[in-house]
C-alpha cells in the first residue's frame, strides 16, 4: 500500500496538563492509553481473585476462603475479566490504531470518546466496592441467573448499575468506531483496502450496538423483579427463570465474539508482517468475520441444553452452532496459508500470534464438542466448560492482545520491546497456561462441577496441578509489566518508523513514537 504522507512533524500537545490533561483529553492516543492501563489494572484485580480461587482449590476441603466469599470471587472474577479487562483492552487498541490505520486525524466523536472511557472507572468502583457492602458482592455467577440473582443483597444492585454504566460506555464506543470507520477513511482507503483489524472492529462494533441494550434490558428486569414486585423470572407470577437465560445468552453469545473478533483482526495484522507475505484470502476473511457475527445471533441456546428445551430447539441450536466452525475454519486456514512458504521470523509478536493459532484452535474444537447436545448434557457446568472458555478467552483474546501489544509497542513508546524478556513472557505464559487449563478438561469429563469451593478426593491431583500452573501464569504476567515500563521509560533500542521489517500499513509510515496528532491532513492511499 503506497501512501503520500504530508509533513506532520509538529508534535504539539496543548490544553490542560497534569491530571487534568488525562481527564479532559479528546485525543484518541491518550484515550487509547488510558483504556489499556485501566484494562491491565482490572486484569491484575481479576487475576488476584482467580489466584484466590485457585488457592482454595489447591486441596480438597475448605482452607482459604469461606464458600460465600468463594462464590463472590468467581462471580466478580468473571465480570471484571470480561467487562473490565478484555473488552476495554480491545477498545484501547481500536482507539490507538484505527485512526492511524485508516489515515484519520482522530475518532469521529472525540469528546464522546473521552466519556466512553471515563465511564469505566465508576463502573469498576461499583463492582469492586460491592465486596465491602453488607452481604458482599453478588455471588450468582457472572451470568447472574435468577432465582439466585433475585435473592442476593445490595452487591447485586451495584453489579446491575455497573453493567448499565459499562453498557452505555460500550454503546457509545461502538458507535464511535462505526462512524470513524465509515466516515473518516483517507481518500483512496476503500473498505476492501482497510487493514483487517478495522474490519473486525467494525463488525464487532455492530455486535455491541445490537446486544449491549439487550443485556441492559435483562438486568433491568432483574432489578424490577428484585425491588418492584414484577414477575419476569418468577413462575408463580407467570414468568420464567429460563426467560432470563434466553435474554442473557442472546447477548452472551455475540458477546464472546465481541471478545474474539478483534483478536482475529490483530492476528491477521501480525502474521503477514512476519511471514512477509500479504494476508492469504483477505476478502474471505472479511466475509468469514461477517458470517460469524451473523450466525452468533442464532446460536445462543447452546448454553441452555440442560434447561429442558424441546428437541427441535436442541437440534436447531446444535446445528447452527456447528455451522460457526466453517467460517472460523476459513480463518485458521487463511492464517496458516499466509505462513505457507513465507519467509518467517519469530520475534515476540509472531510467537504470540502463532501460539494463539494453536491454543485458540483447541478452544474452538472443545467448543464444537460442547455444542453437541448429547455431550453437552454431560459436561455442561463442569470444568470442561471452564477449560473451553479459558482456551478461547485467555489463549485467544488475551494472547492476541499480547501479540498486538508487542507488535505496536514501538509505535506507542518509540522503543523496541525487549526480545529476550518478551520471549520469556511468551513461553512462560504458554506453558503455565496449559498446565493450568489442560487438566481441567479431564476434571470436567470426570464430572467435577464448576463454581464449587470444595470437591471430591479423586479430583485432587489435577486440581493441585492446575493451581500450580495458575500461580505460575499469574506471576509470568508481571514480566509484561516490566517490558512495558522499560519501553515507556525510554529503555531499549530506538524504534524506526517501520519497526518490523515486513510490517505494512499507514501506522508504520509515521514516526515512532507516533506524534500526538497524526494525519491531520489526510494521506492519499493509492
Amino acid at each position: 500500500m503506497a501512501a503520500v504522507i504530508p509533513d506532520q512533524l509538529h508534535d504539539h500537545h496543548h490544553g490542560p496538563t497534569g491530571l487534568m490533561r488525562w481527564i479532559t483529553t479528546t485525543n484518541h492516543k491518550d484515550i487509547g492509553t488510558m483504556y489499556m492501563i485501566f484494562s491491565f489494572v482490572m486484569f491484575l484485580a481479576g487475576g488476584v481473585m482467580a489466584l484466590t480461587i485457585r488457592a482454595e482449590l489447591f486441596q480438597p476441603g475448605l482452607q482459604v476462603v469461606e464458600p460465600e466469599l468463594f462464590n463472590q470471587l468467581t462471580t466478580l472474577h468473571g465480570l471484571v475479566m470480561v467487562f473490565g479487562a478484555i473488552m476495554p483492552a480491545f477498545v484501547g487498541f481500536a482507539n490507538w490504531m484505527i485512526p492511524m490505520m485508516i489515515g484519520a486525524s482522530d475518532m469521529a466523536f472525540a469528546r464522546m470518546n473521552n466519556w466512553s472511557f471515563w465511564l469505566l472507572p465508576p463502573a469498576a468502583i461499583l463492582l469492586i466496592a460491592s465486596f465491602f457492602v453488607p452481604g458482599g458482592a453478588t455471588a450468582a455467577g457472572w451470568t447472574l441467573y435468577p432465582p439466585l440473582s433475585i435473592q442476593m443483597g445490595m452487591g447485586m444492585d451495584m453489579a446491575i448499575f455497573a453493567i448499565h454504566i459499562m453498557g452505555i460506555s460500550s454503546i457509545m464506543g461502538a458507535i464511535n468506531i462505526v462512524v470513524t470507520v465509515l466516515n473518516m477513511r483517507a481518500p483512496g482507503m476503500t473498505m476492501m483496502k482497510m487493514p483487517l483489524f478495522c474490519w473486525t472492529w467494525l463488525i464487532t462494533a455492530y455486535l455491541l450496538i445490537a446486544v449491549m441494550p439487550v443485556l441492559a434490558g435483562a438486568v433491568t428486569m432483574l432489578l424490577t423483579d428484585r425491588h418492584f414486585g414484577t414477575s419476569f423470572f418468577n413462575a408463580a407470577g407467570g414468568g420464567d427463570p429460563v426467560l432470563y437465560q434466553h435474554i442473557f445468552w442472546f447477548f452472551g453469545h455475540p458477546e464472546v465474539y465481541i471478545m474474539i473478533l478483534p483478536a482475529f483482526g490483530i492476528v491477521s495484522q501480525i502474521i503477514p508482517a512476519f511471514a512477509r507475505k500479504p494476508l492469504f484470502g483477505y476478502a474471505s476473511m472479511v466475509y468469514a468475520t461477517a458470517s460469524i457475527a451473523i450466525l452468533s445471533f442464532v446460536v445462543w441456546a447452546h448454553h441452555m441444553f440442560t434447561t429442558g428445551m424441546p428437541l427441535a430447539g436442541q437440534l436447531f441450536f446444535m446445528y447452527a452452532t456447528l455451522l460457526i466452525a466453517v467460517p472460523t475454519g476459513v480463518k485458521v486456514f487463511n492464517w496458516v496459508a499466509t505462513m505457507w512458504r513465507g519467509s518467517m521470523t519469530f520475534e515476540t509478536p509472531m510467537l504470540w500470534a502463532t501460539g494463539f493459532i494453536f491454543v485458540f484452535t483447541m478452544g474452538g474444537f472443545t467448543g464444537l464438542i460442547c455444542a453437541i447436545a448429547p455431550i453437552d448434557i454431560q459436561i455442561h457446568d463442569t470444568y470442561y466448560v471452564v477449560a473451553h472458555f479459558h482456551y478461547v478467552l485467555v489463549a485467544g483474546s488475551l494472547f492476541s492482545l499480547y501479540a498486538g501489544a508487542y507488535y505496536w509497542l514501538p509505535k506507542w513508546t518509540g522503543r523496541m520491546p525487549d526480545e529476550r524478556i518478551g520471549k520469556l513472557h511468551f513461553w512462560a505464559s504458554l506453558i503455565f497456561f496449559n498446565i493450568t487449563f489442560f487438566p481441567m478438561h479431564f476434571l470436567g469429563l470426570a464430572g467435577m462441577p464448576r463454581r464449587v469451593p470444595d470437591y471430591a478426593l479423586q479430583f485432587a491431583d489435577f486440581n493441585m496441578l492446575a493451581s500450580i500452573g495458575a500461580f505460575g501464569f499469574g506471576l509470568s504476567q508481571l514480566i509484561f509489566l516490566w517490558v512495558v515500563i522499560k519501553a515507556a521509560r525510554g529503555g531499549g533500542e530506538k524504534a524506526p518508523a517501520r519497526s518490523w521489517e515486513g510490517a505494512e500499513g499507514l501506522e508504520w509510515t509515521v514516526p515512532s513514537p507516533a506524534p500526538h496528532h497524526t494525519f491531520e491532513e489526510a494521506p492519499v492511499v493509492k
Partner: protein, 284 residues
C-alpha cells in the same frame, strides 16, 4: 493532497465527560442505597441527576455553539447522521428485550405452566389465558387495560404528532419559519397530552382496575413496556422543546438542520414503538 478532504473538526479537551461520569456514579450508588435503605440514598440519587442535567446543558450547549459557529462541515454532519441512526437501532434492541419477554411468556412459558407435569403436580387447575398473572393461587384479581379507550385515542395523538412534525419539517425546508414553529408547538402539545393521558391511565389502573406493577407477568410487561415508552416520549418531547427554542433563536437553515432531523427520527421511532405496543400489549 489535503484539498480532497475538508478538515474534520476535533473538539478541544473538555471537562463535561467527567461530570457525566461522576453524575452516573452518584446516580447508580444513590439508587442502590435508596433501594436498600442504607445511607442518604435519595439525596445522592438526585444529586447525580442534577449533575447529569448540568452536564447535558453544558455539553449540548457547547455542541450547539460549535454548530452555529460553522465549525462542523459536511463530514461531521454525516458522522452525526450515522451515529443517530445506530443509536436509534440500539434503542430498538433495548425494546426488543422487553417485547421478546412478552412473546416468550405468552407463547411458551404460560402454555408450559398449564400443561403436563407443571399442571399435574405444581399448579393444578391452572389454565392458560391472557391476560394472566400466573398460576400463583393467592394473587389478587385485576382487570386488564382495554385497548379502545384511552390507548386508541393515544394512538391517534401520536400518529397526528407524526404528521404535524412532518409539516414543520416542510416549513423548515421551504424556509417558512412560522409553519416550522407552529408545527413544532403542535407536536410538543400532542406529546404532552399523550403523556397526560398515560399518567391518567396509570392512576386509573391502580385505583379502579387493581392492575399494578406486581400483578404477575401481565402487570410486569404492561408497565415496563409502556413505562419505558413513556420515558422515551418524555425525552423526545424535551428534544422537540429544545428544537423549538432553537428555532425561536433563529437556528437551522433549509440546507443545514441535522439536530432537527435527528429529533424527528427519534420521534418517529417512538411512534413506531407505540404502534407495536398498541397491538401486542393493549389489543391482542
Amino acid at each position: 493532497m489535503s484539498h480532497t478532504l475538508e478538515k474534520y473538526f476535533v473538539p478541544e479537551p473538555s471537562i463535561y465527560p467527567i461530570f457525566g461520569s461522576v453524575a452516573l456514579l452518584l446516580f447508580g450508588s444513590g439508587a442502590v442505597m435508596w433501594l436498600n435503605d442504607v445511607g442518604p440514598g435519595p439525596l445522592v440519587f438526585f444529586l447525580g441527576i442534577a449533575l447529569l442535567i448540568y452536564m447535558m446543558f453544558g455539553w449540548f450547549g457547547q455542541v450547539v455553539k460549535e454548530s452555529q459557529g460553522g465549525q462542523y462541515g459536511k463530514r461531521v454532519d454525516l458522522s452525526f447522521r450515522w451515529s443517530m441512526g445506530w443509536f436509534i437501532f440500539s434503542e430498538v434492541m433495548f425494546f426488543a428485550a422487553f417485547f421478546g419477554a412478552l412473546f416468550y411468556v405468552r407463547v411458551l412459558s404460560l402454555p408450559w405452566l398449564a400443561t403436563g407435569e407443571n399442571e399435574a403436580v405444581l399448579w393444578q387447575g391452572f389454565t392458560q389465558e391472557w391476560p394472566s398473572s400466573g398460576p400463583y393461587p393467592y394473587a389478587e384479581a385485576f382487570t386488564p387495560m382495554g385497548a379502545w379507550g384511552i390507548p386508541a385515542f393515544n394512538t391517534l395523538l401520536l400518529l397526528t404528532s407524526g404528521v404535524t412534525l412532518t409539516w414543520a419539517h416542510h416549513g423548515l425546508l421551504k424556509n417558512r419559519r412560522d409553519q416550522l414553529a407552529k408545527g413544532l408547538l403542535a407536536t410538543i402539545a400532542l406529546g404532552v397530552i399523550f403523556l397526560g393521558f398515560q399518567i391518567y391511565e396509570y392512576f386509573h389502573a391502580y385505583s379502579d382496575l387493581n392492575l399494578r406493577l406486581d400483578s404477575g407477568i401481565y402487570g410486569s410487561t404492561f408497565y415496563l413496556l409502556t413505562g419505558f415508552h413513556g420515558l422515551h416520549v418524555t425525552i423526545g418531547a424535551i428534544m422537540l422543546a429544545v428544537m423549538y427554542f432553537r428555532v425561536r433563536a433563529g437556528h437551522f437553515r433549509p440546507d443545514n438542520h441535522f439536530a432537527f432531523e435527528a429529533t424527528a427520527w427519534y420521534w418517529h421511532f417512538v411512534d413506531v414503538v407505540w404502534l407495536f405496543l398498541f397491538v401486542v400489549v393493549y389489543w391482542l
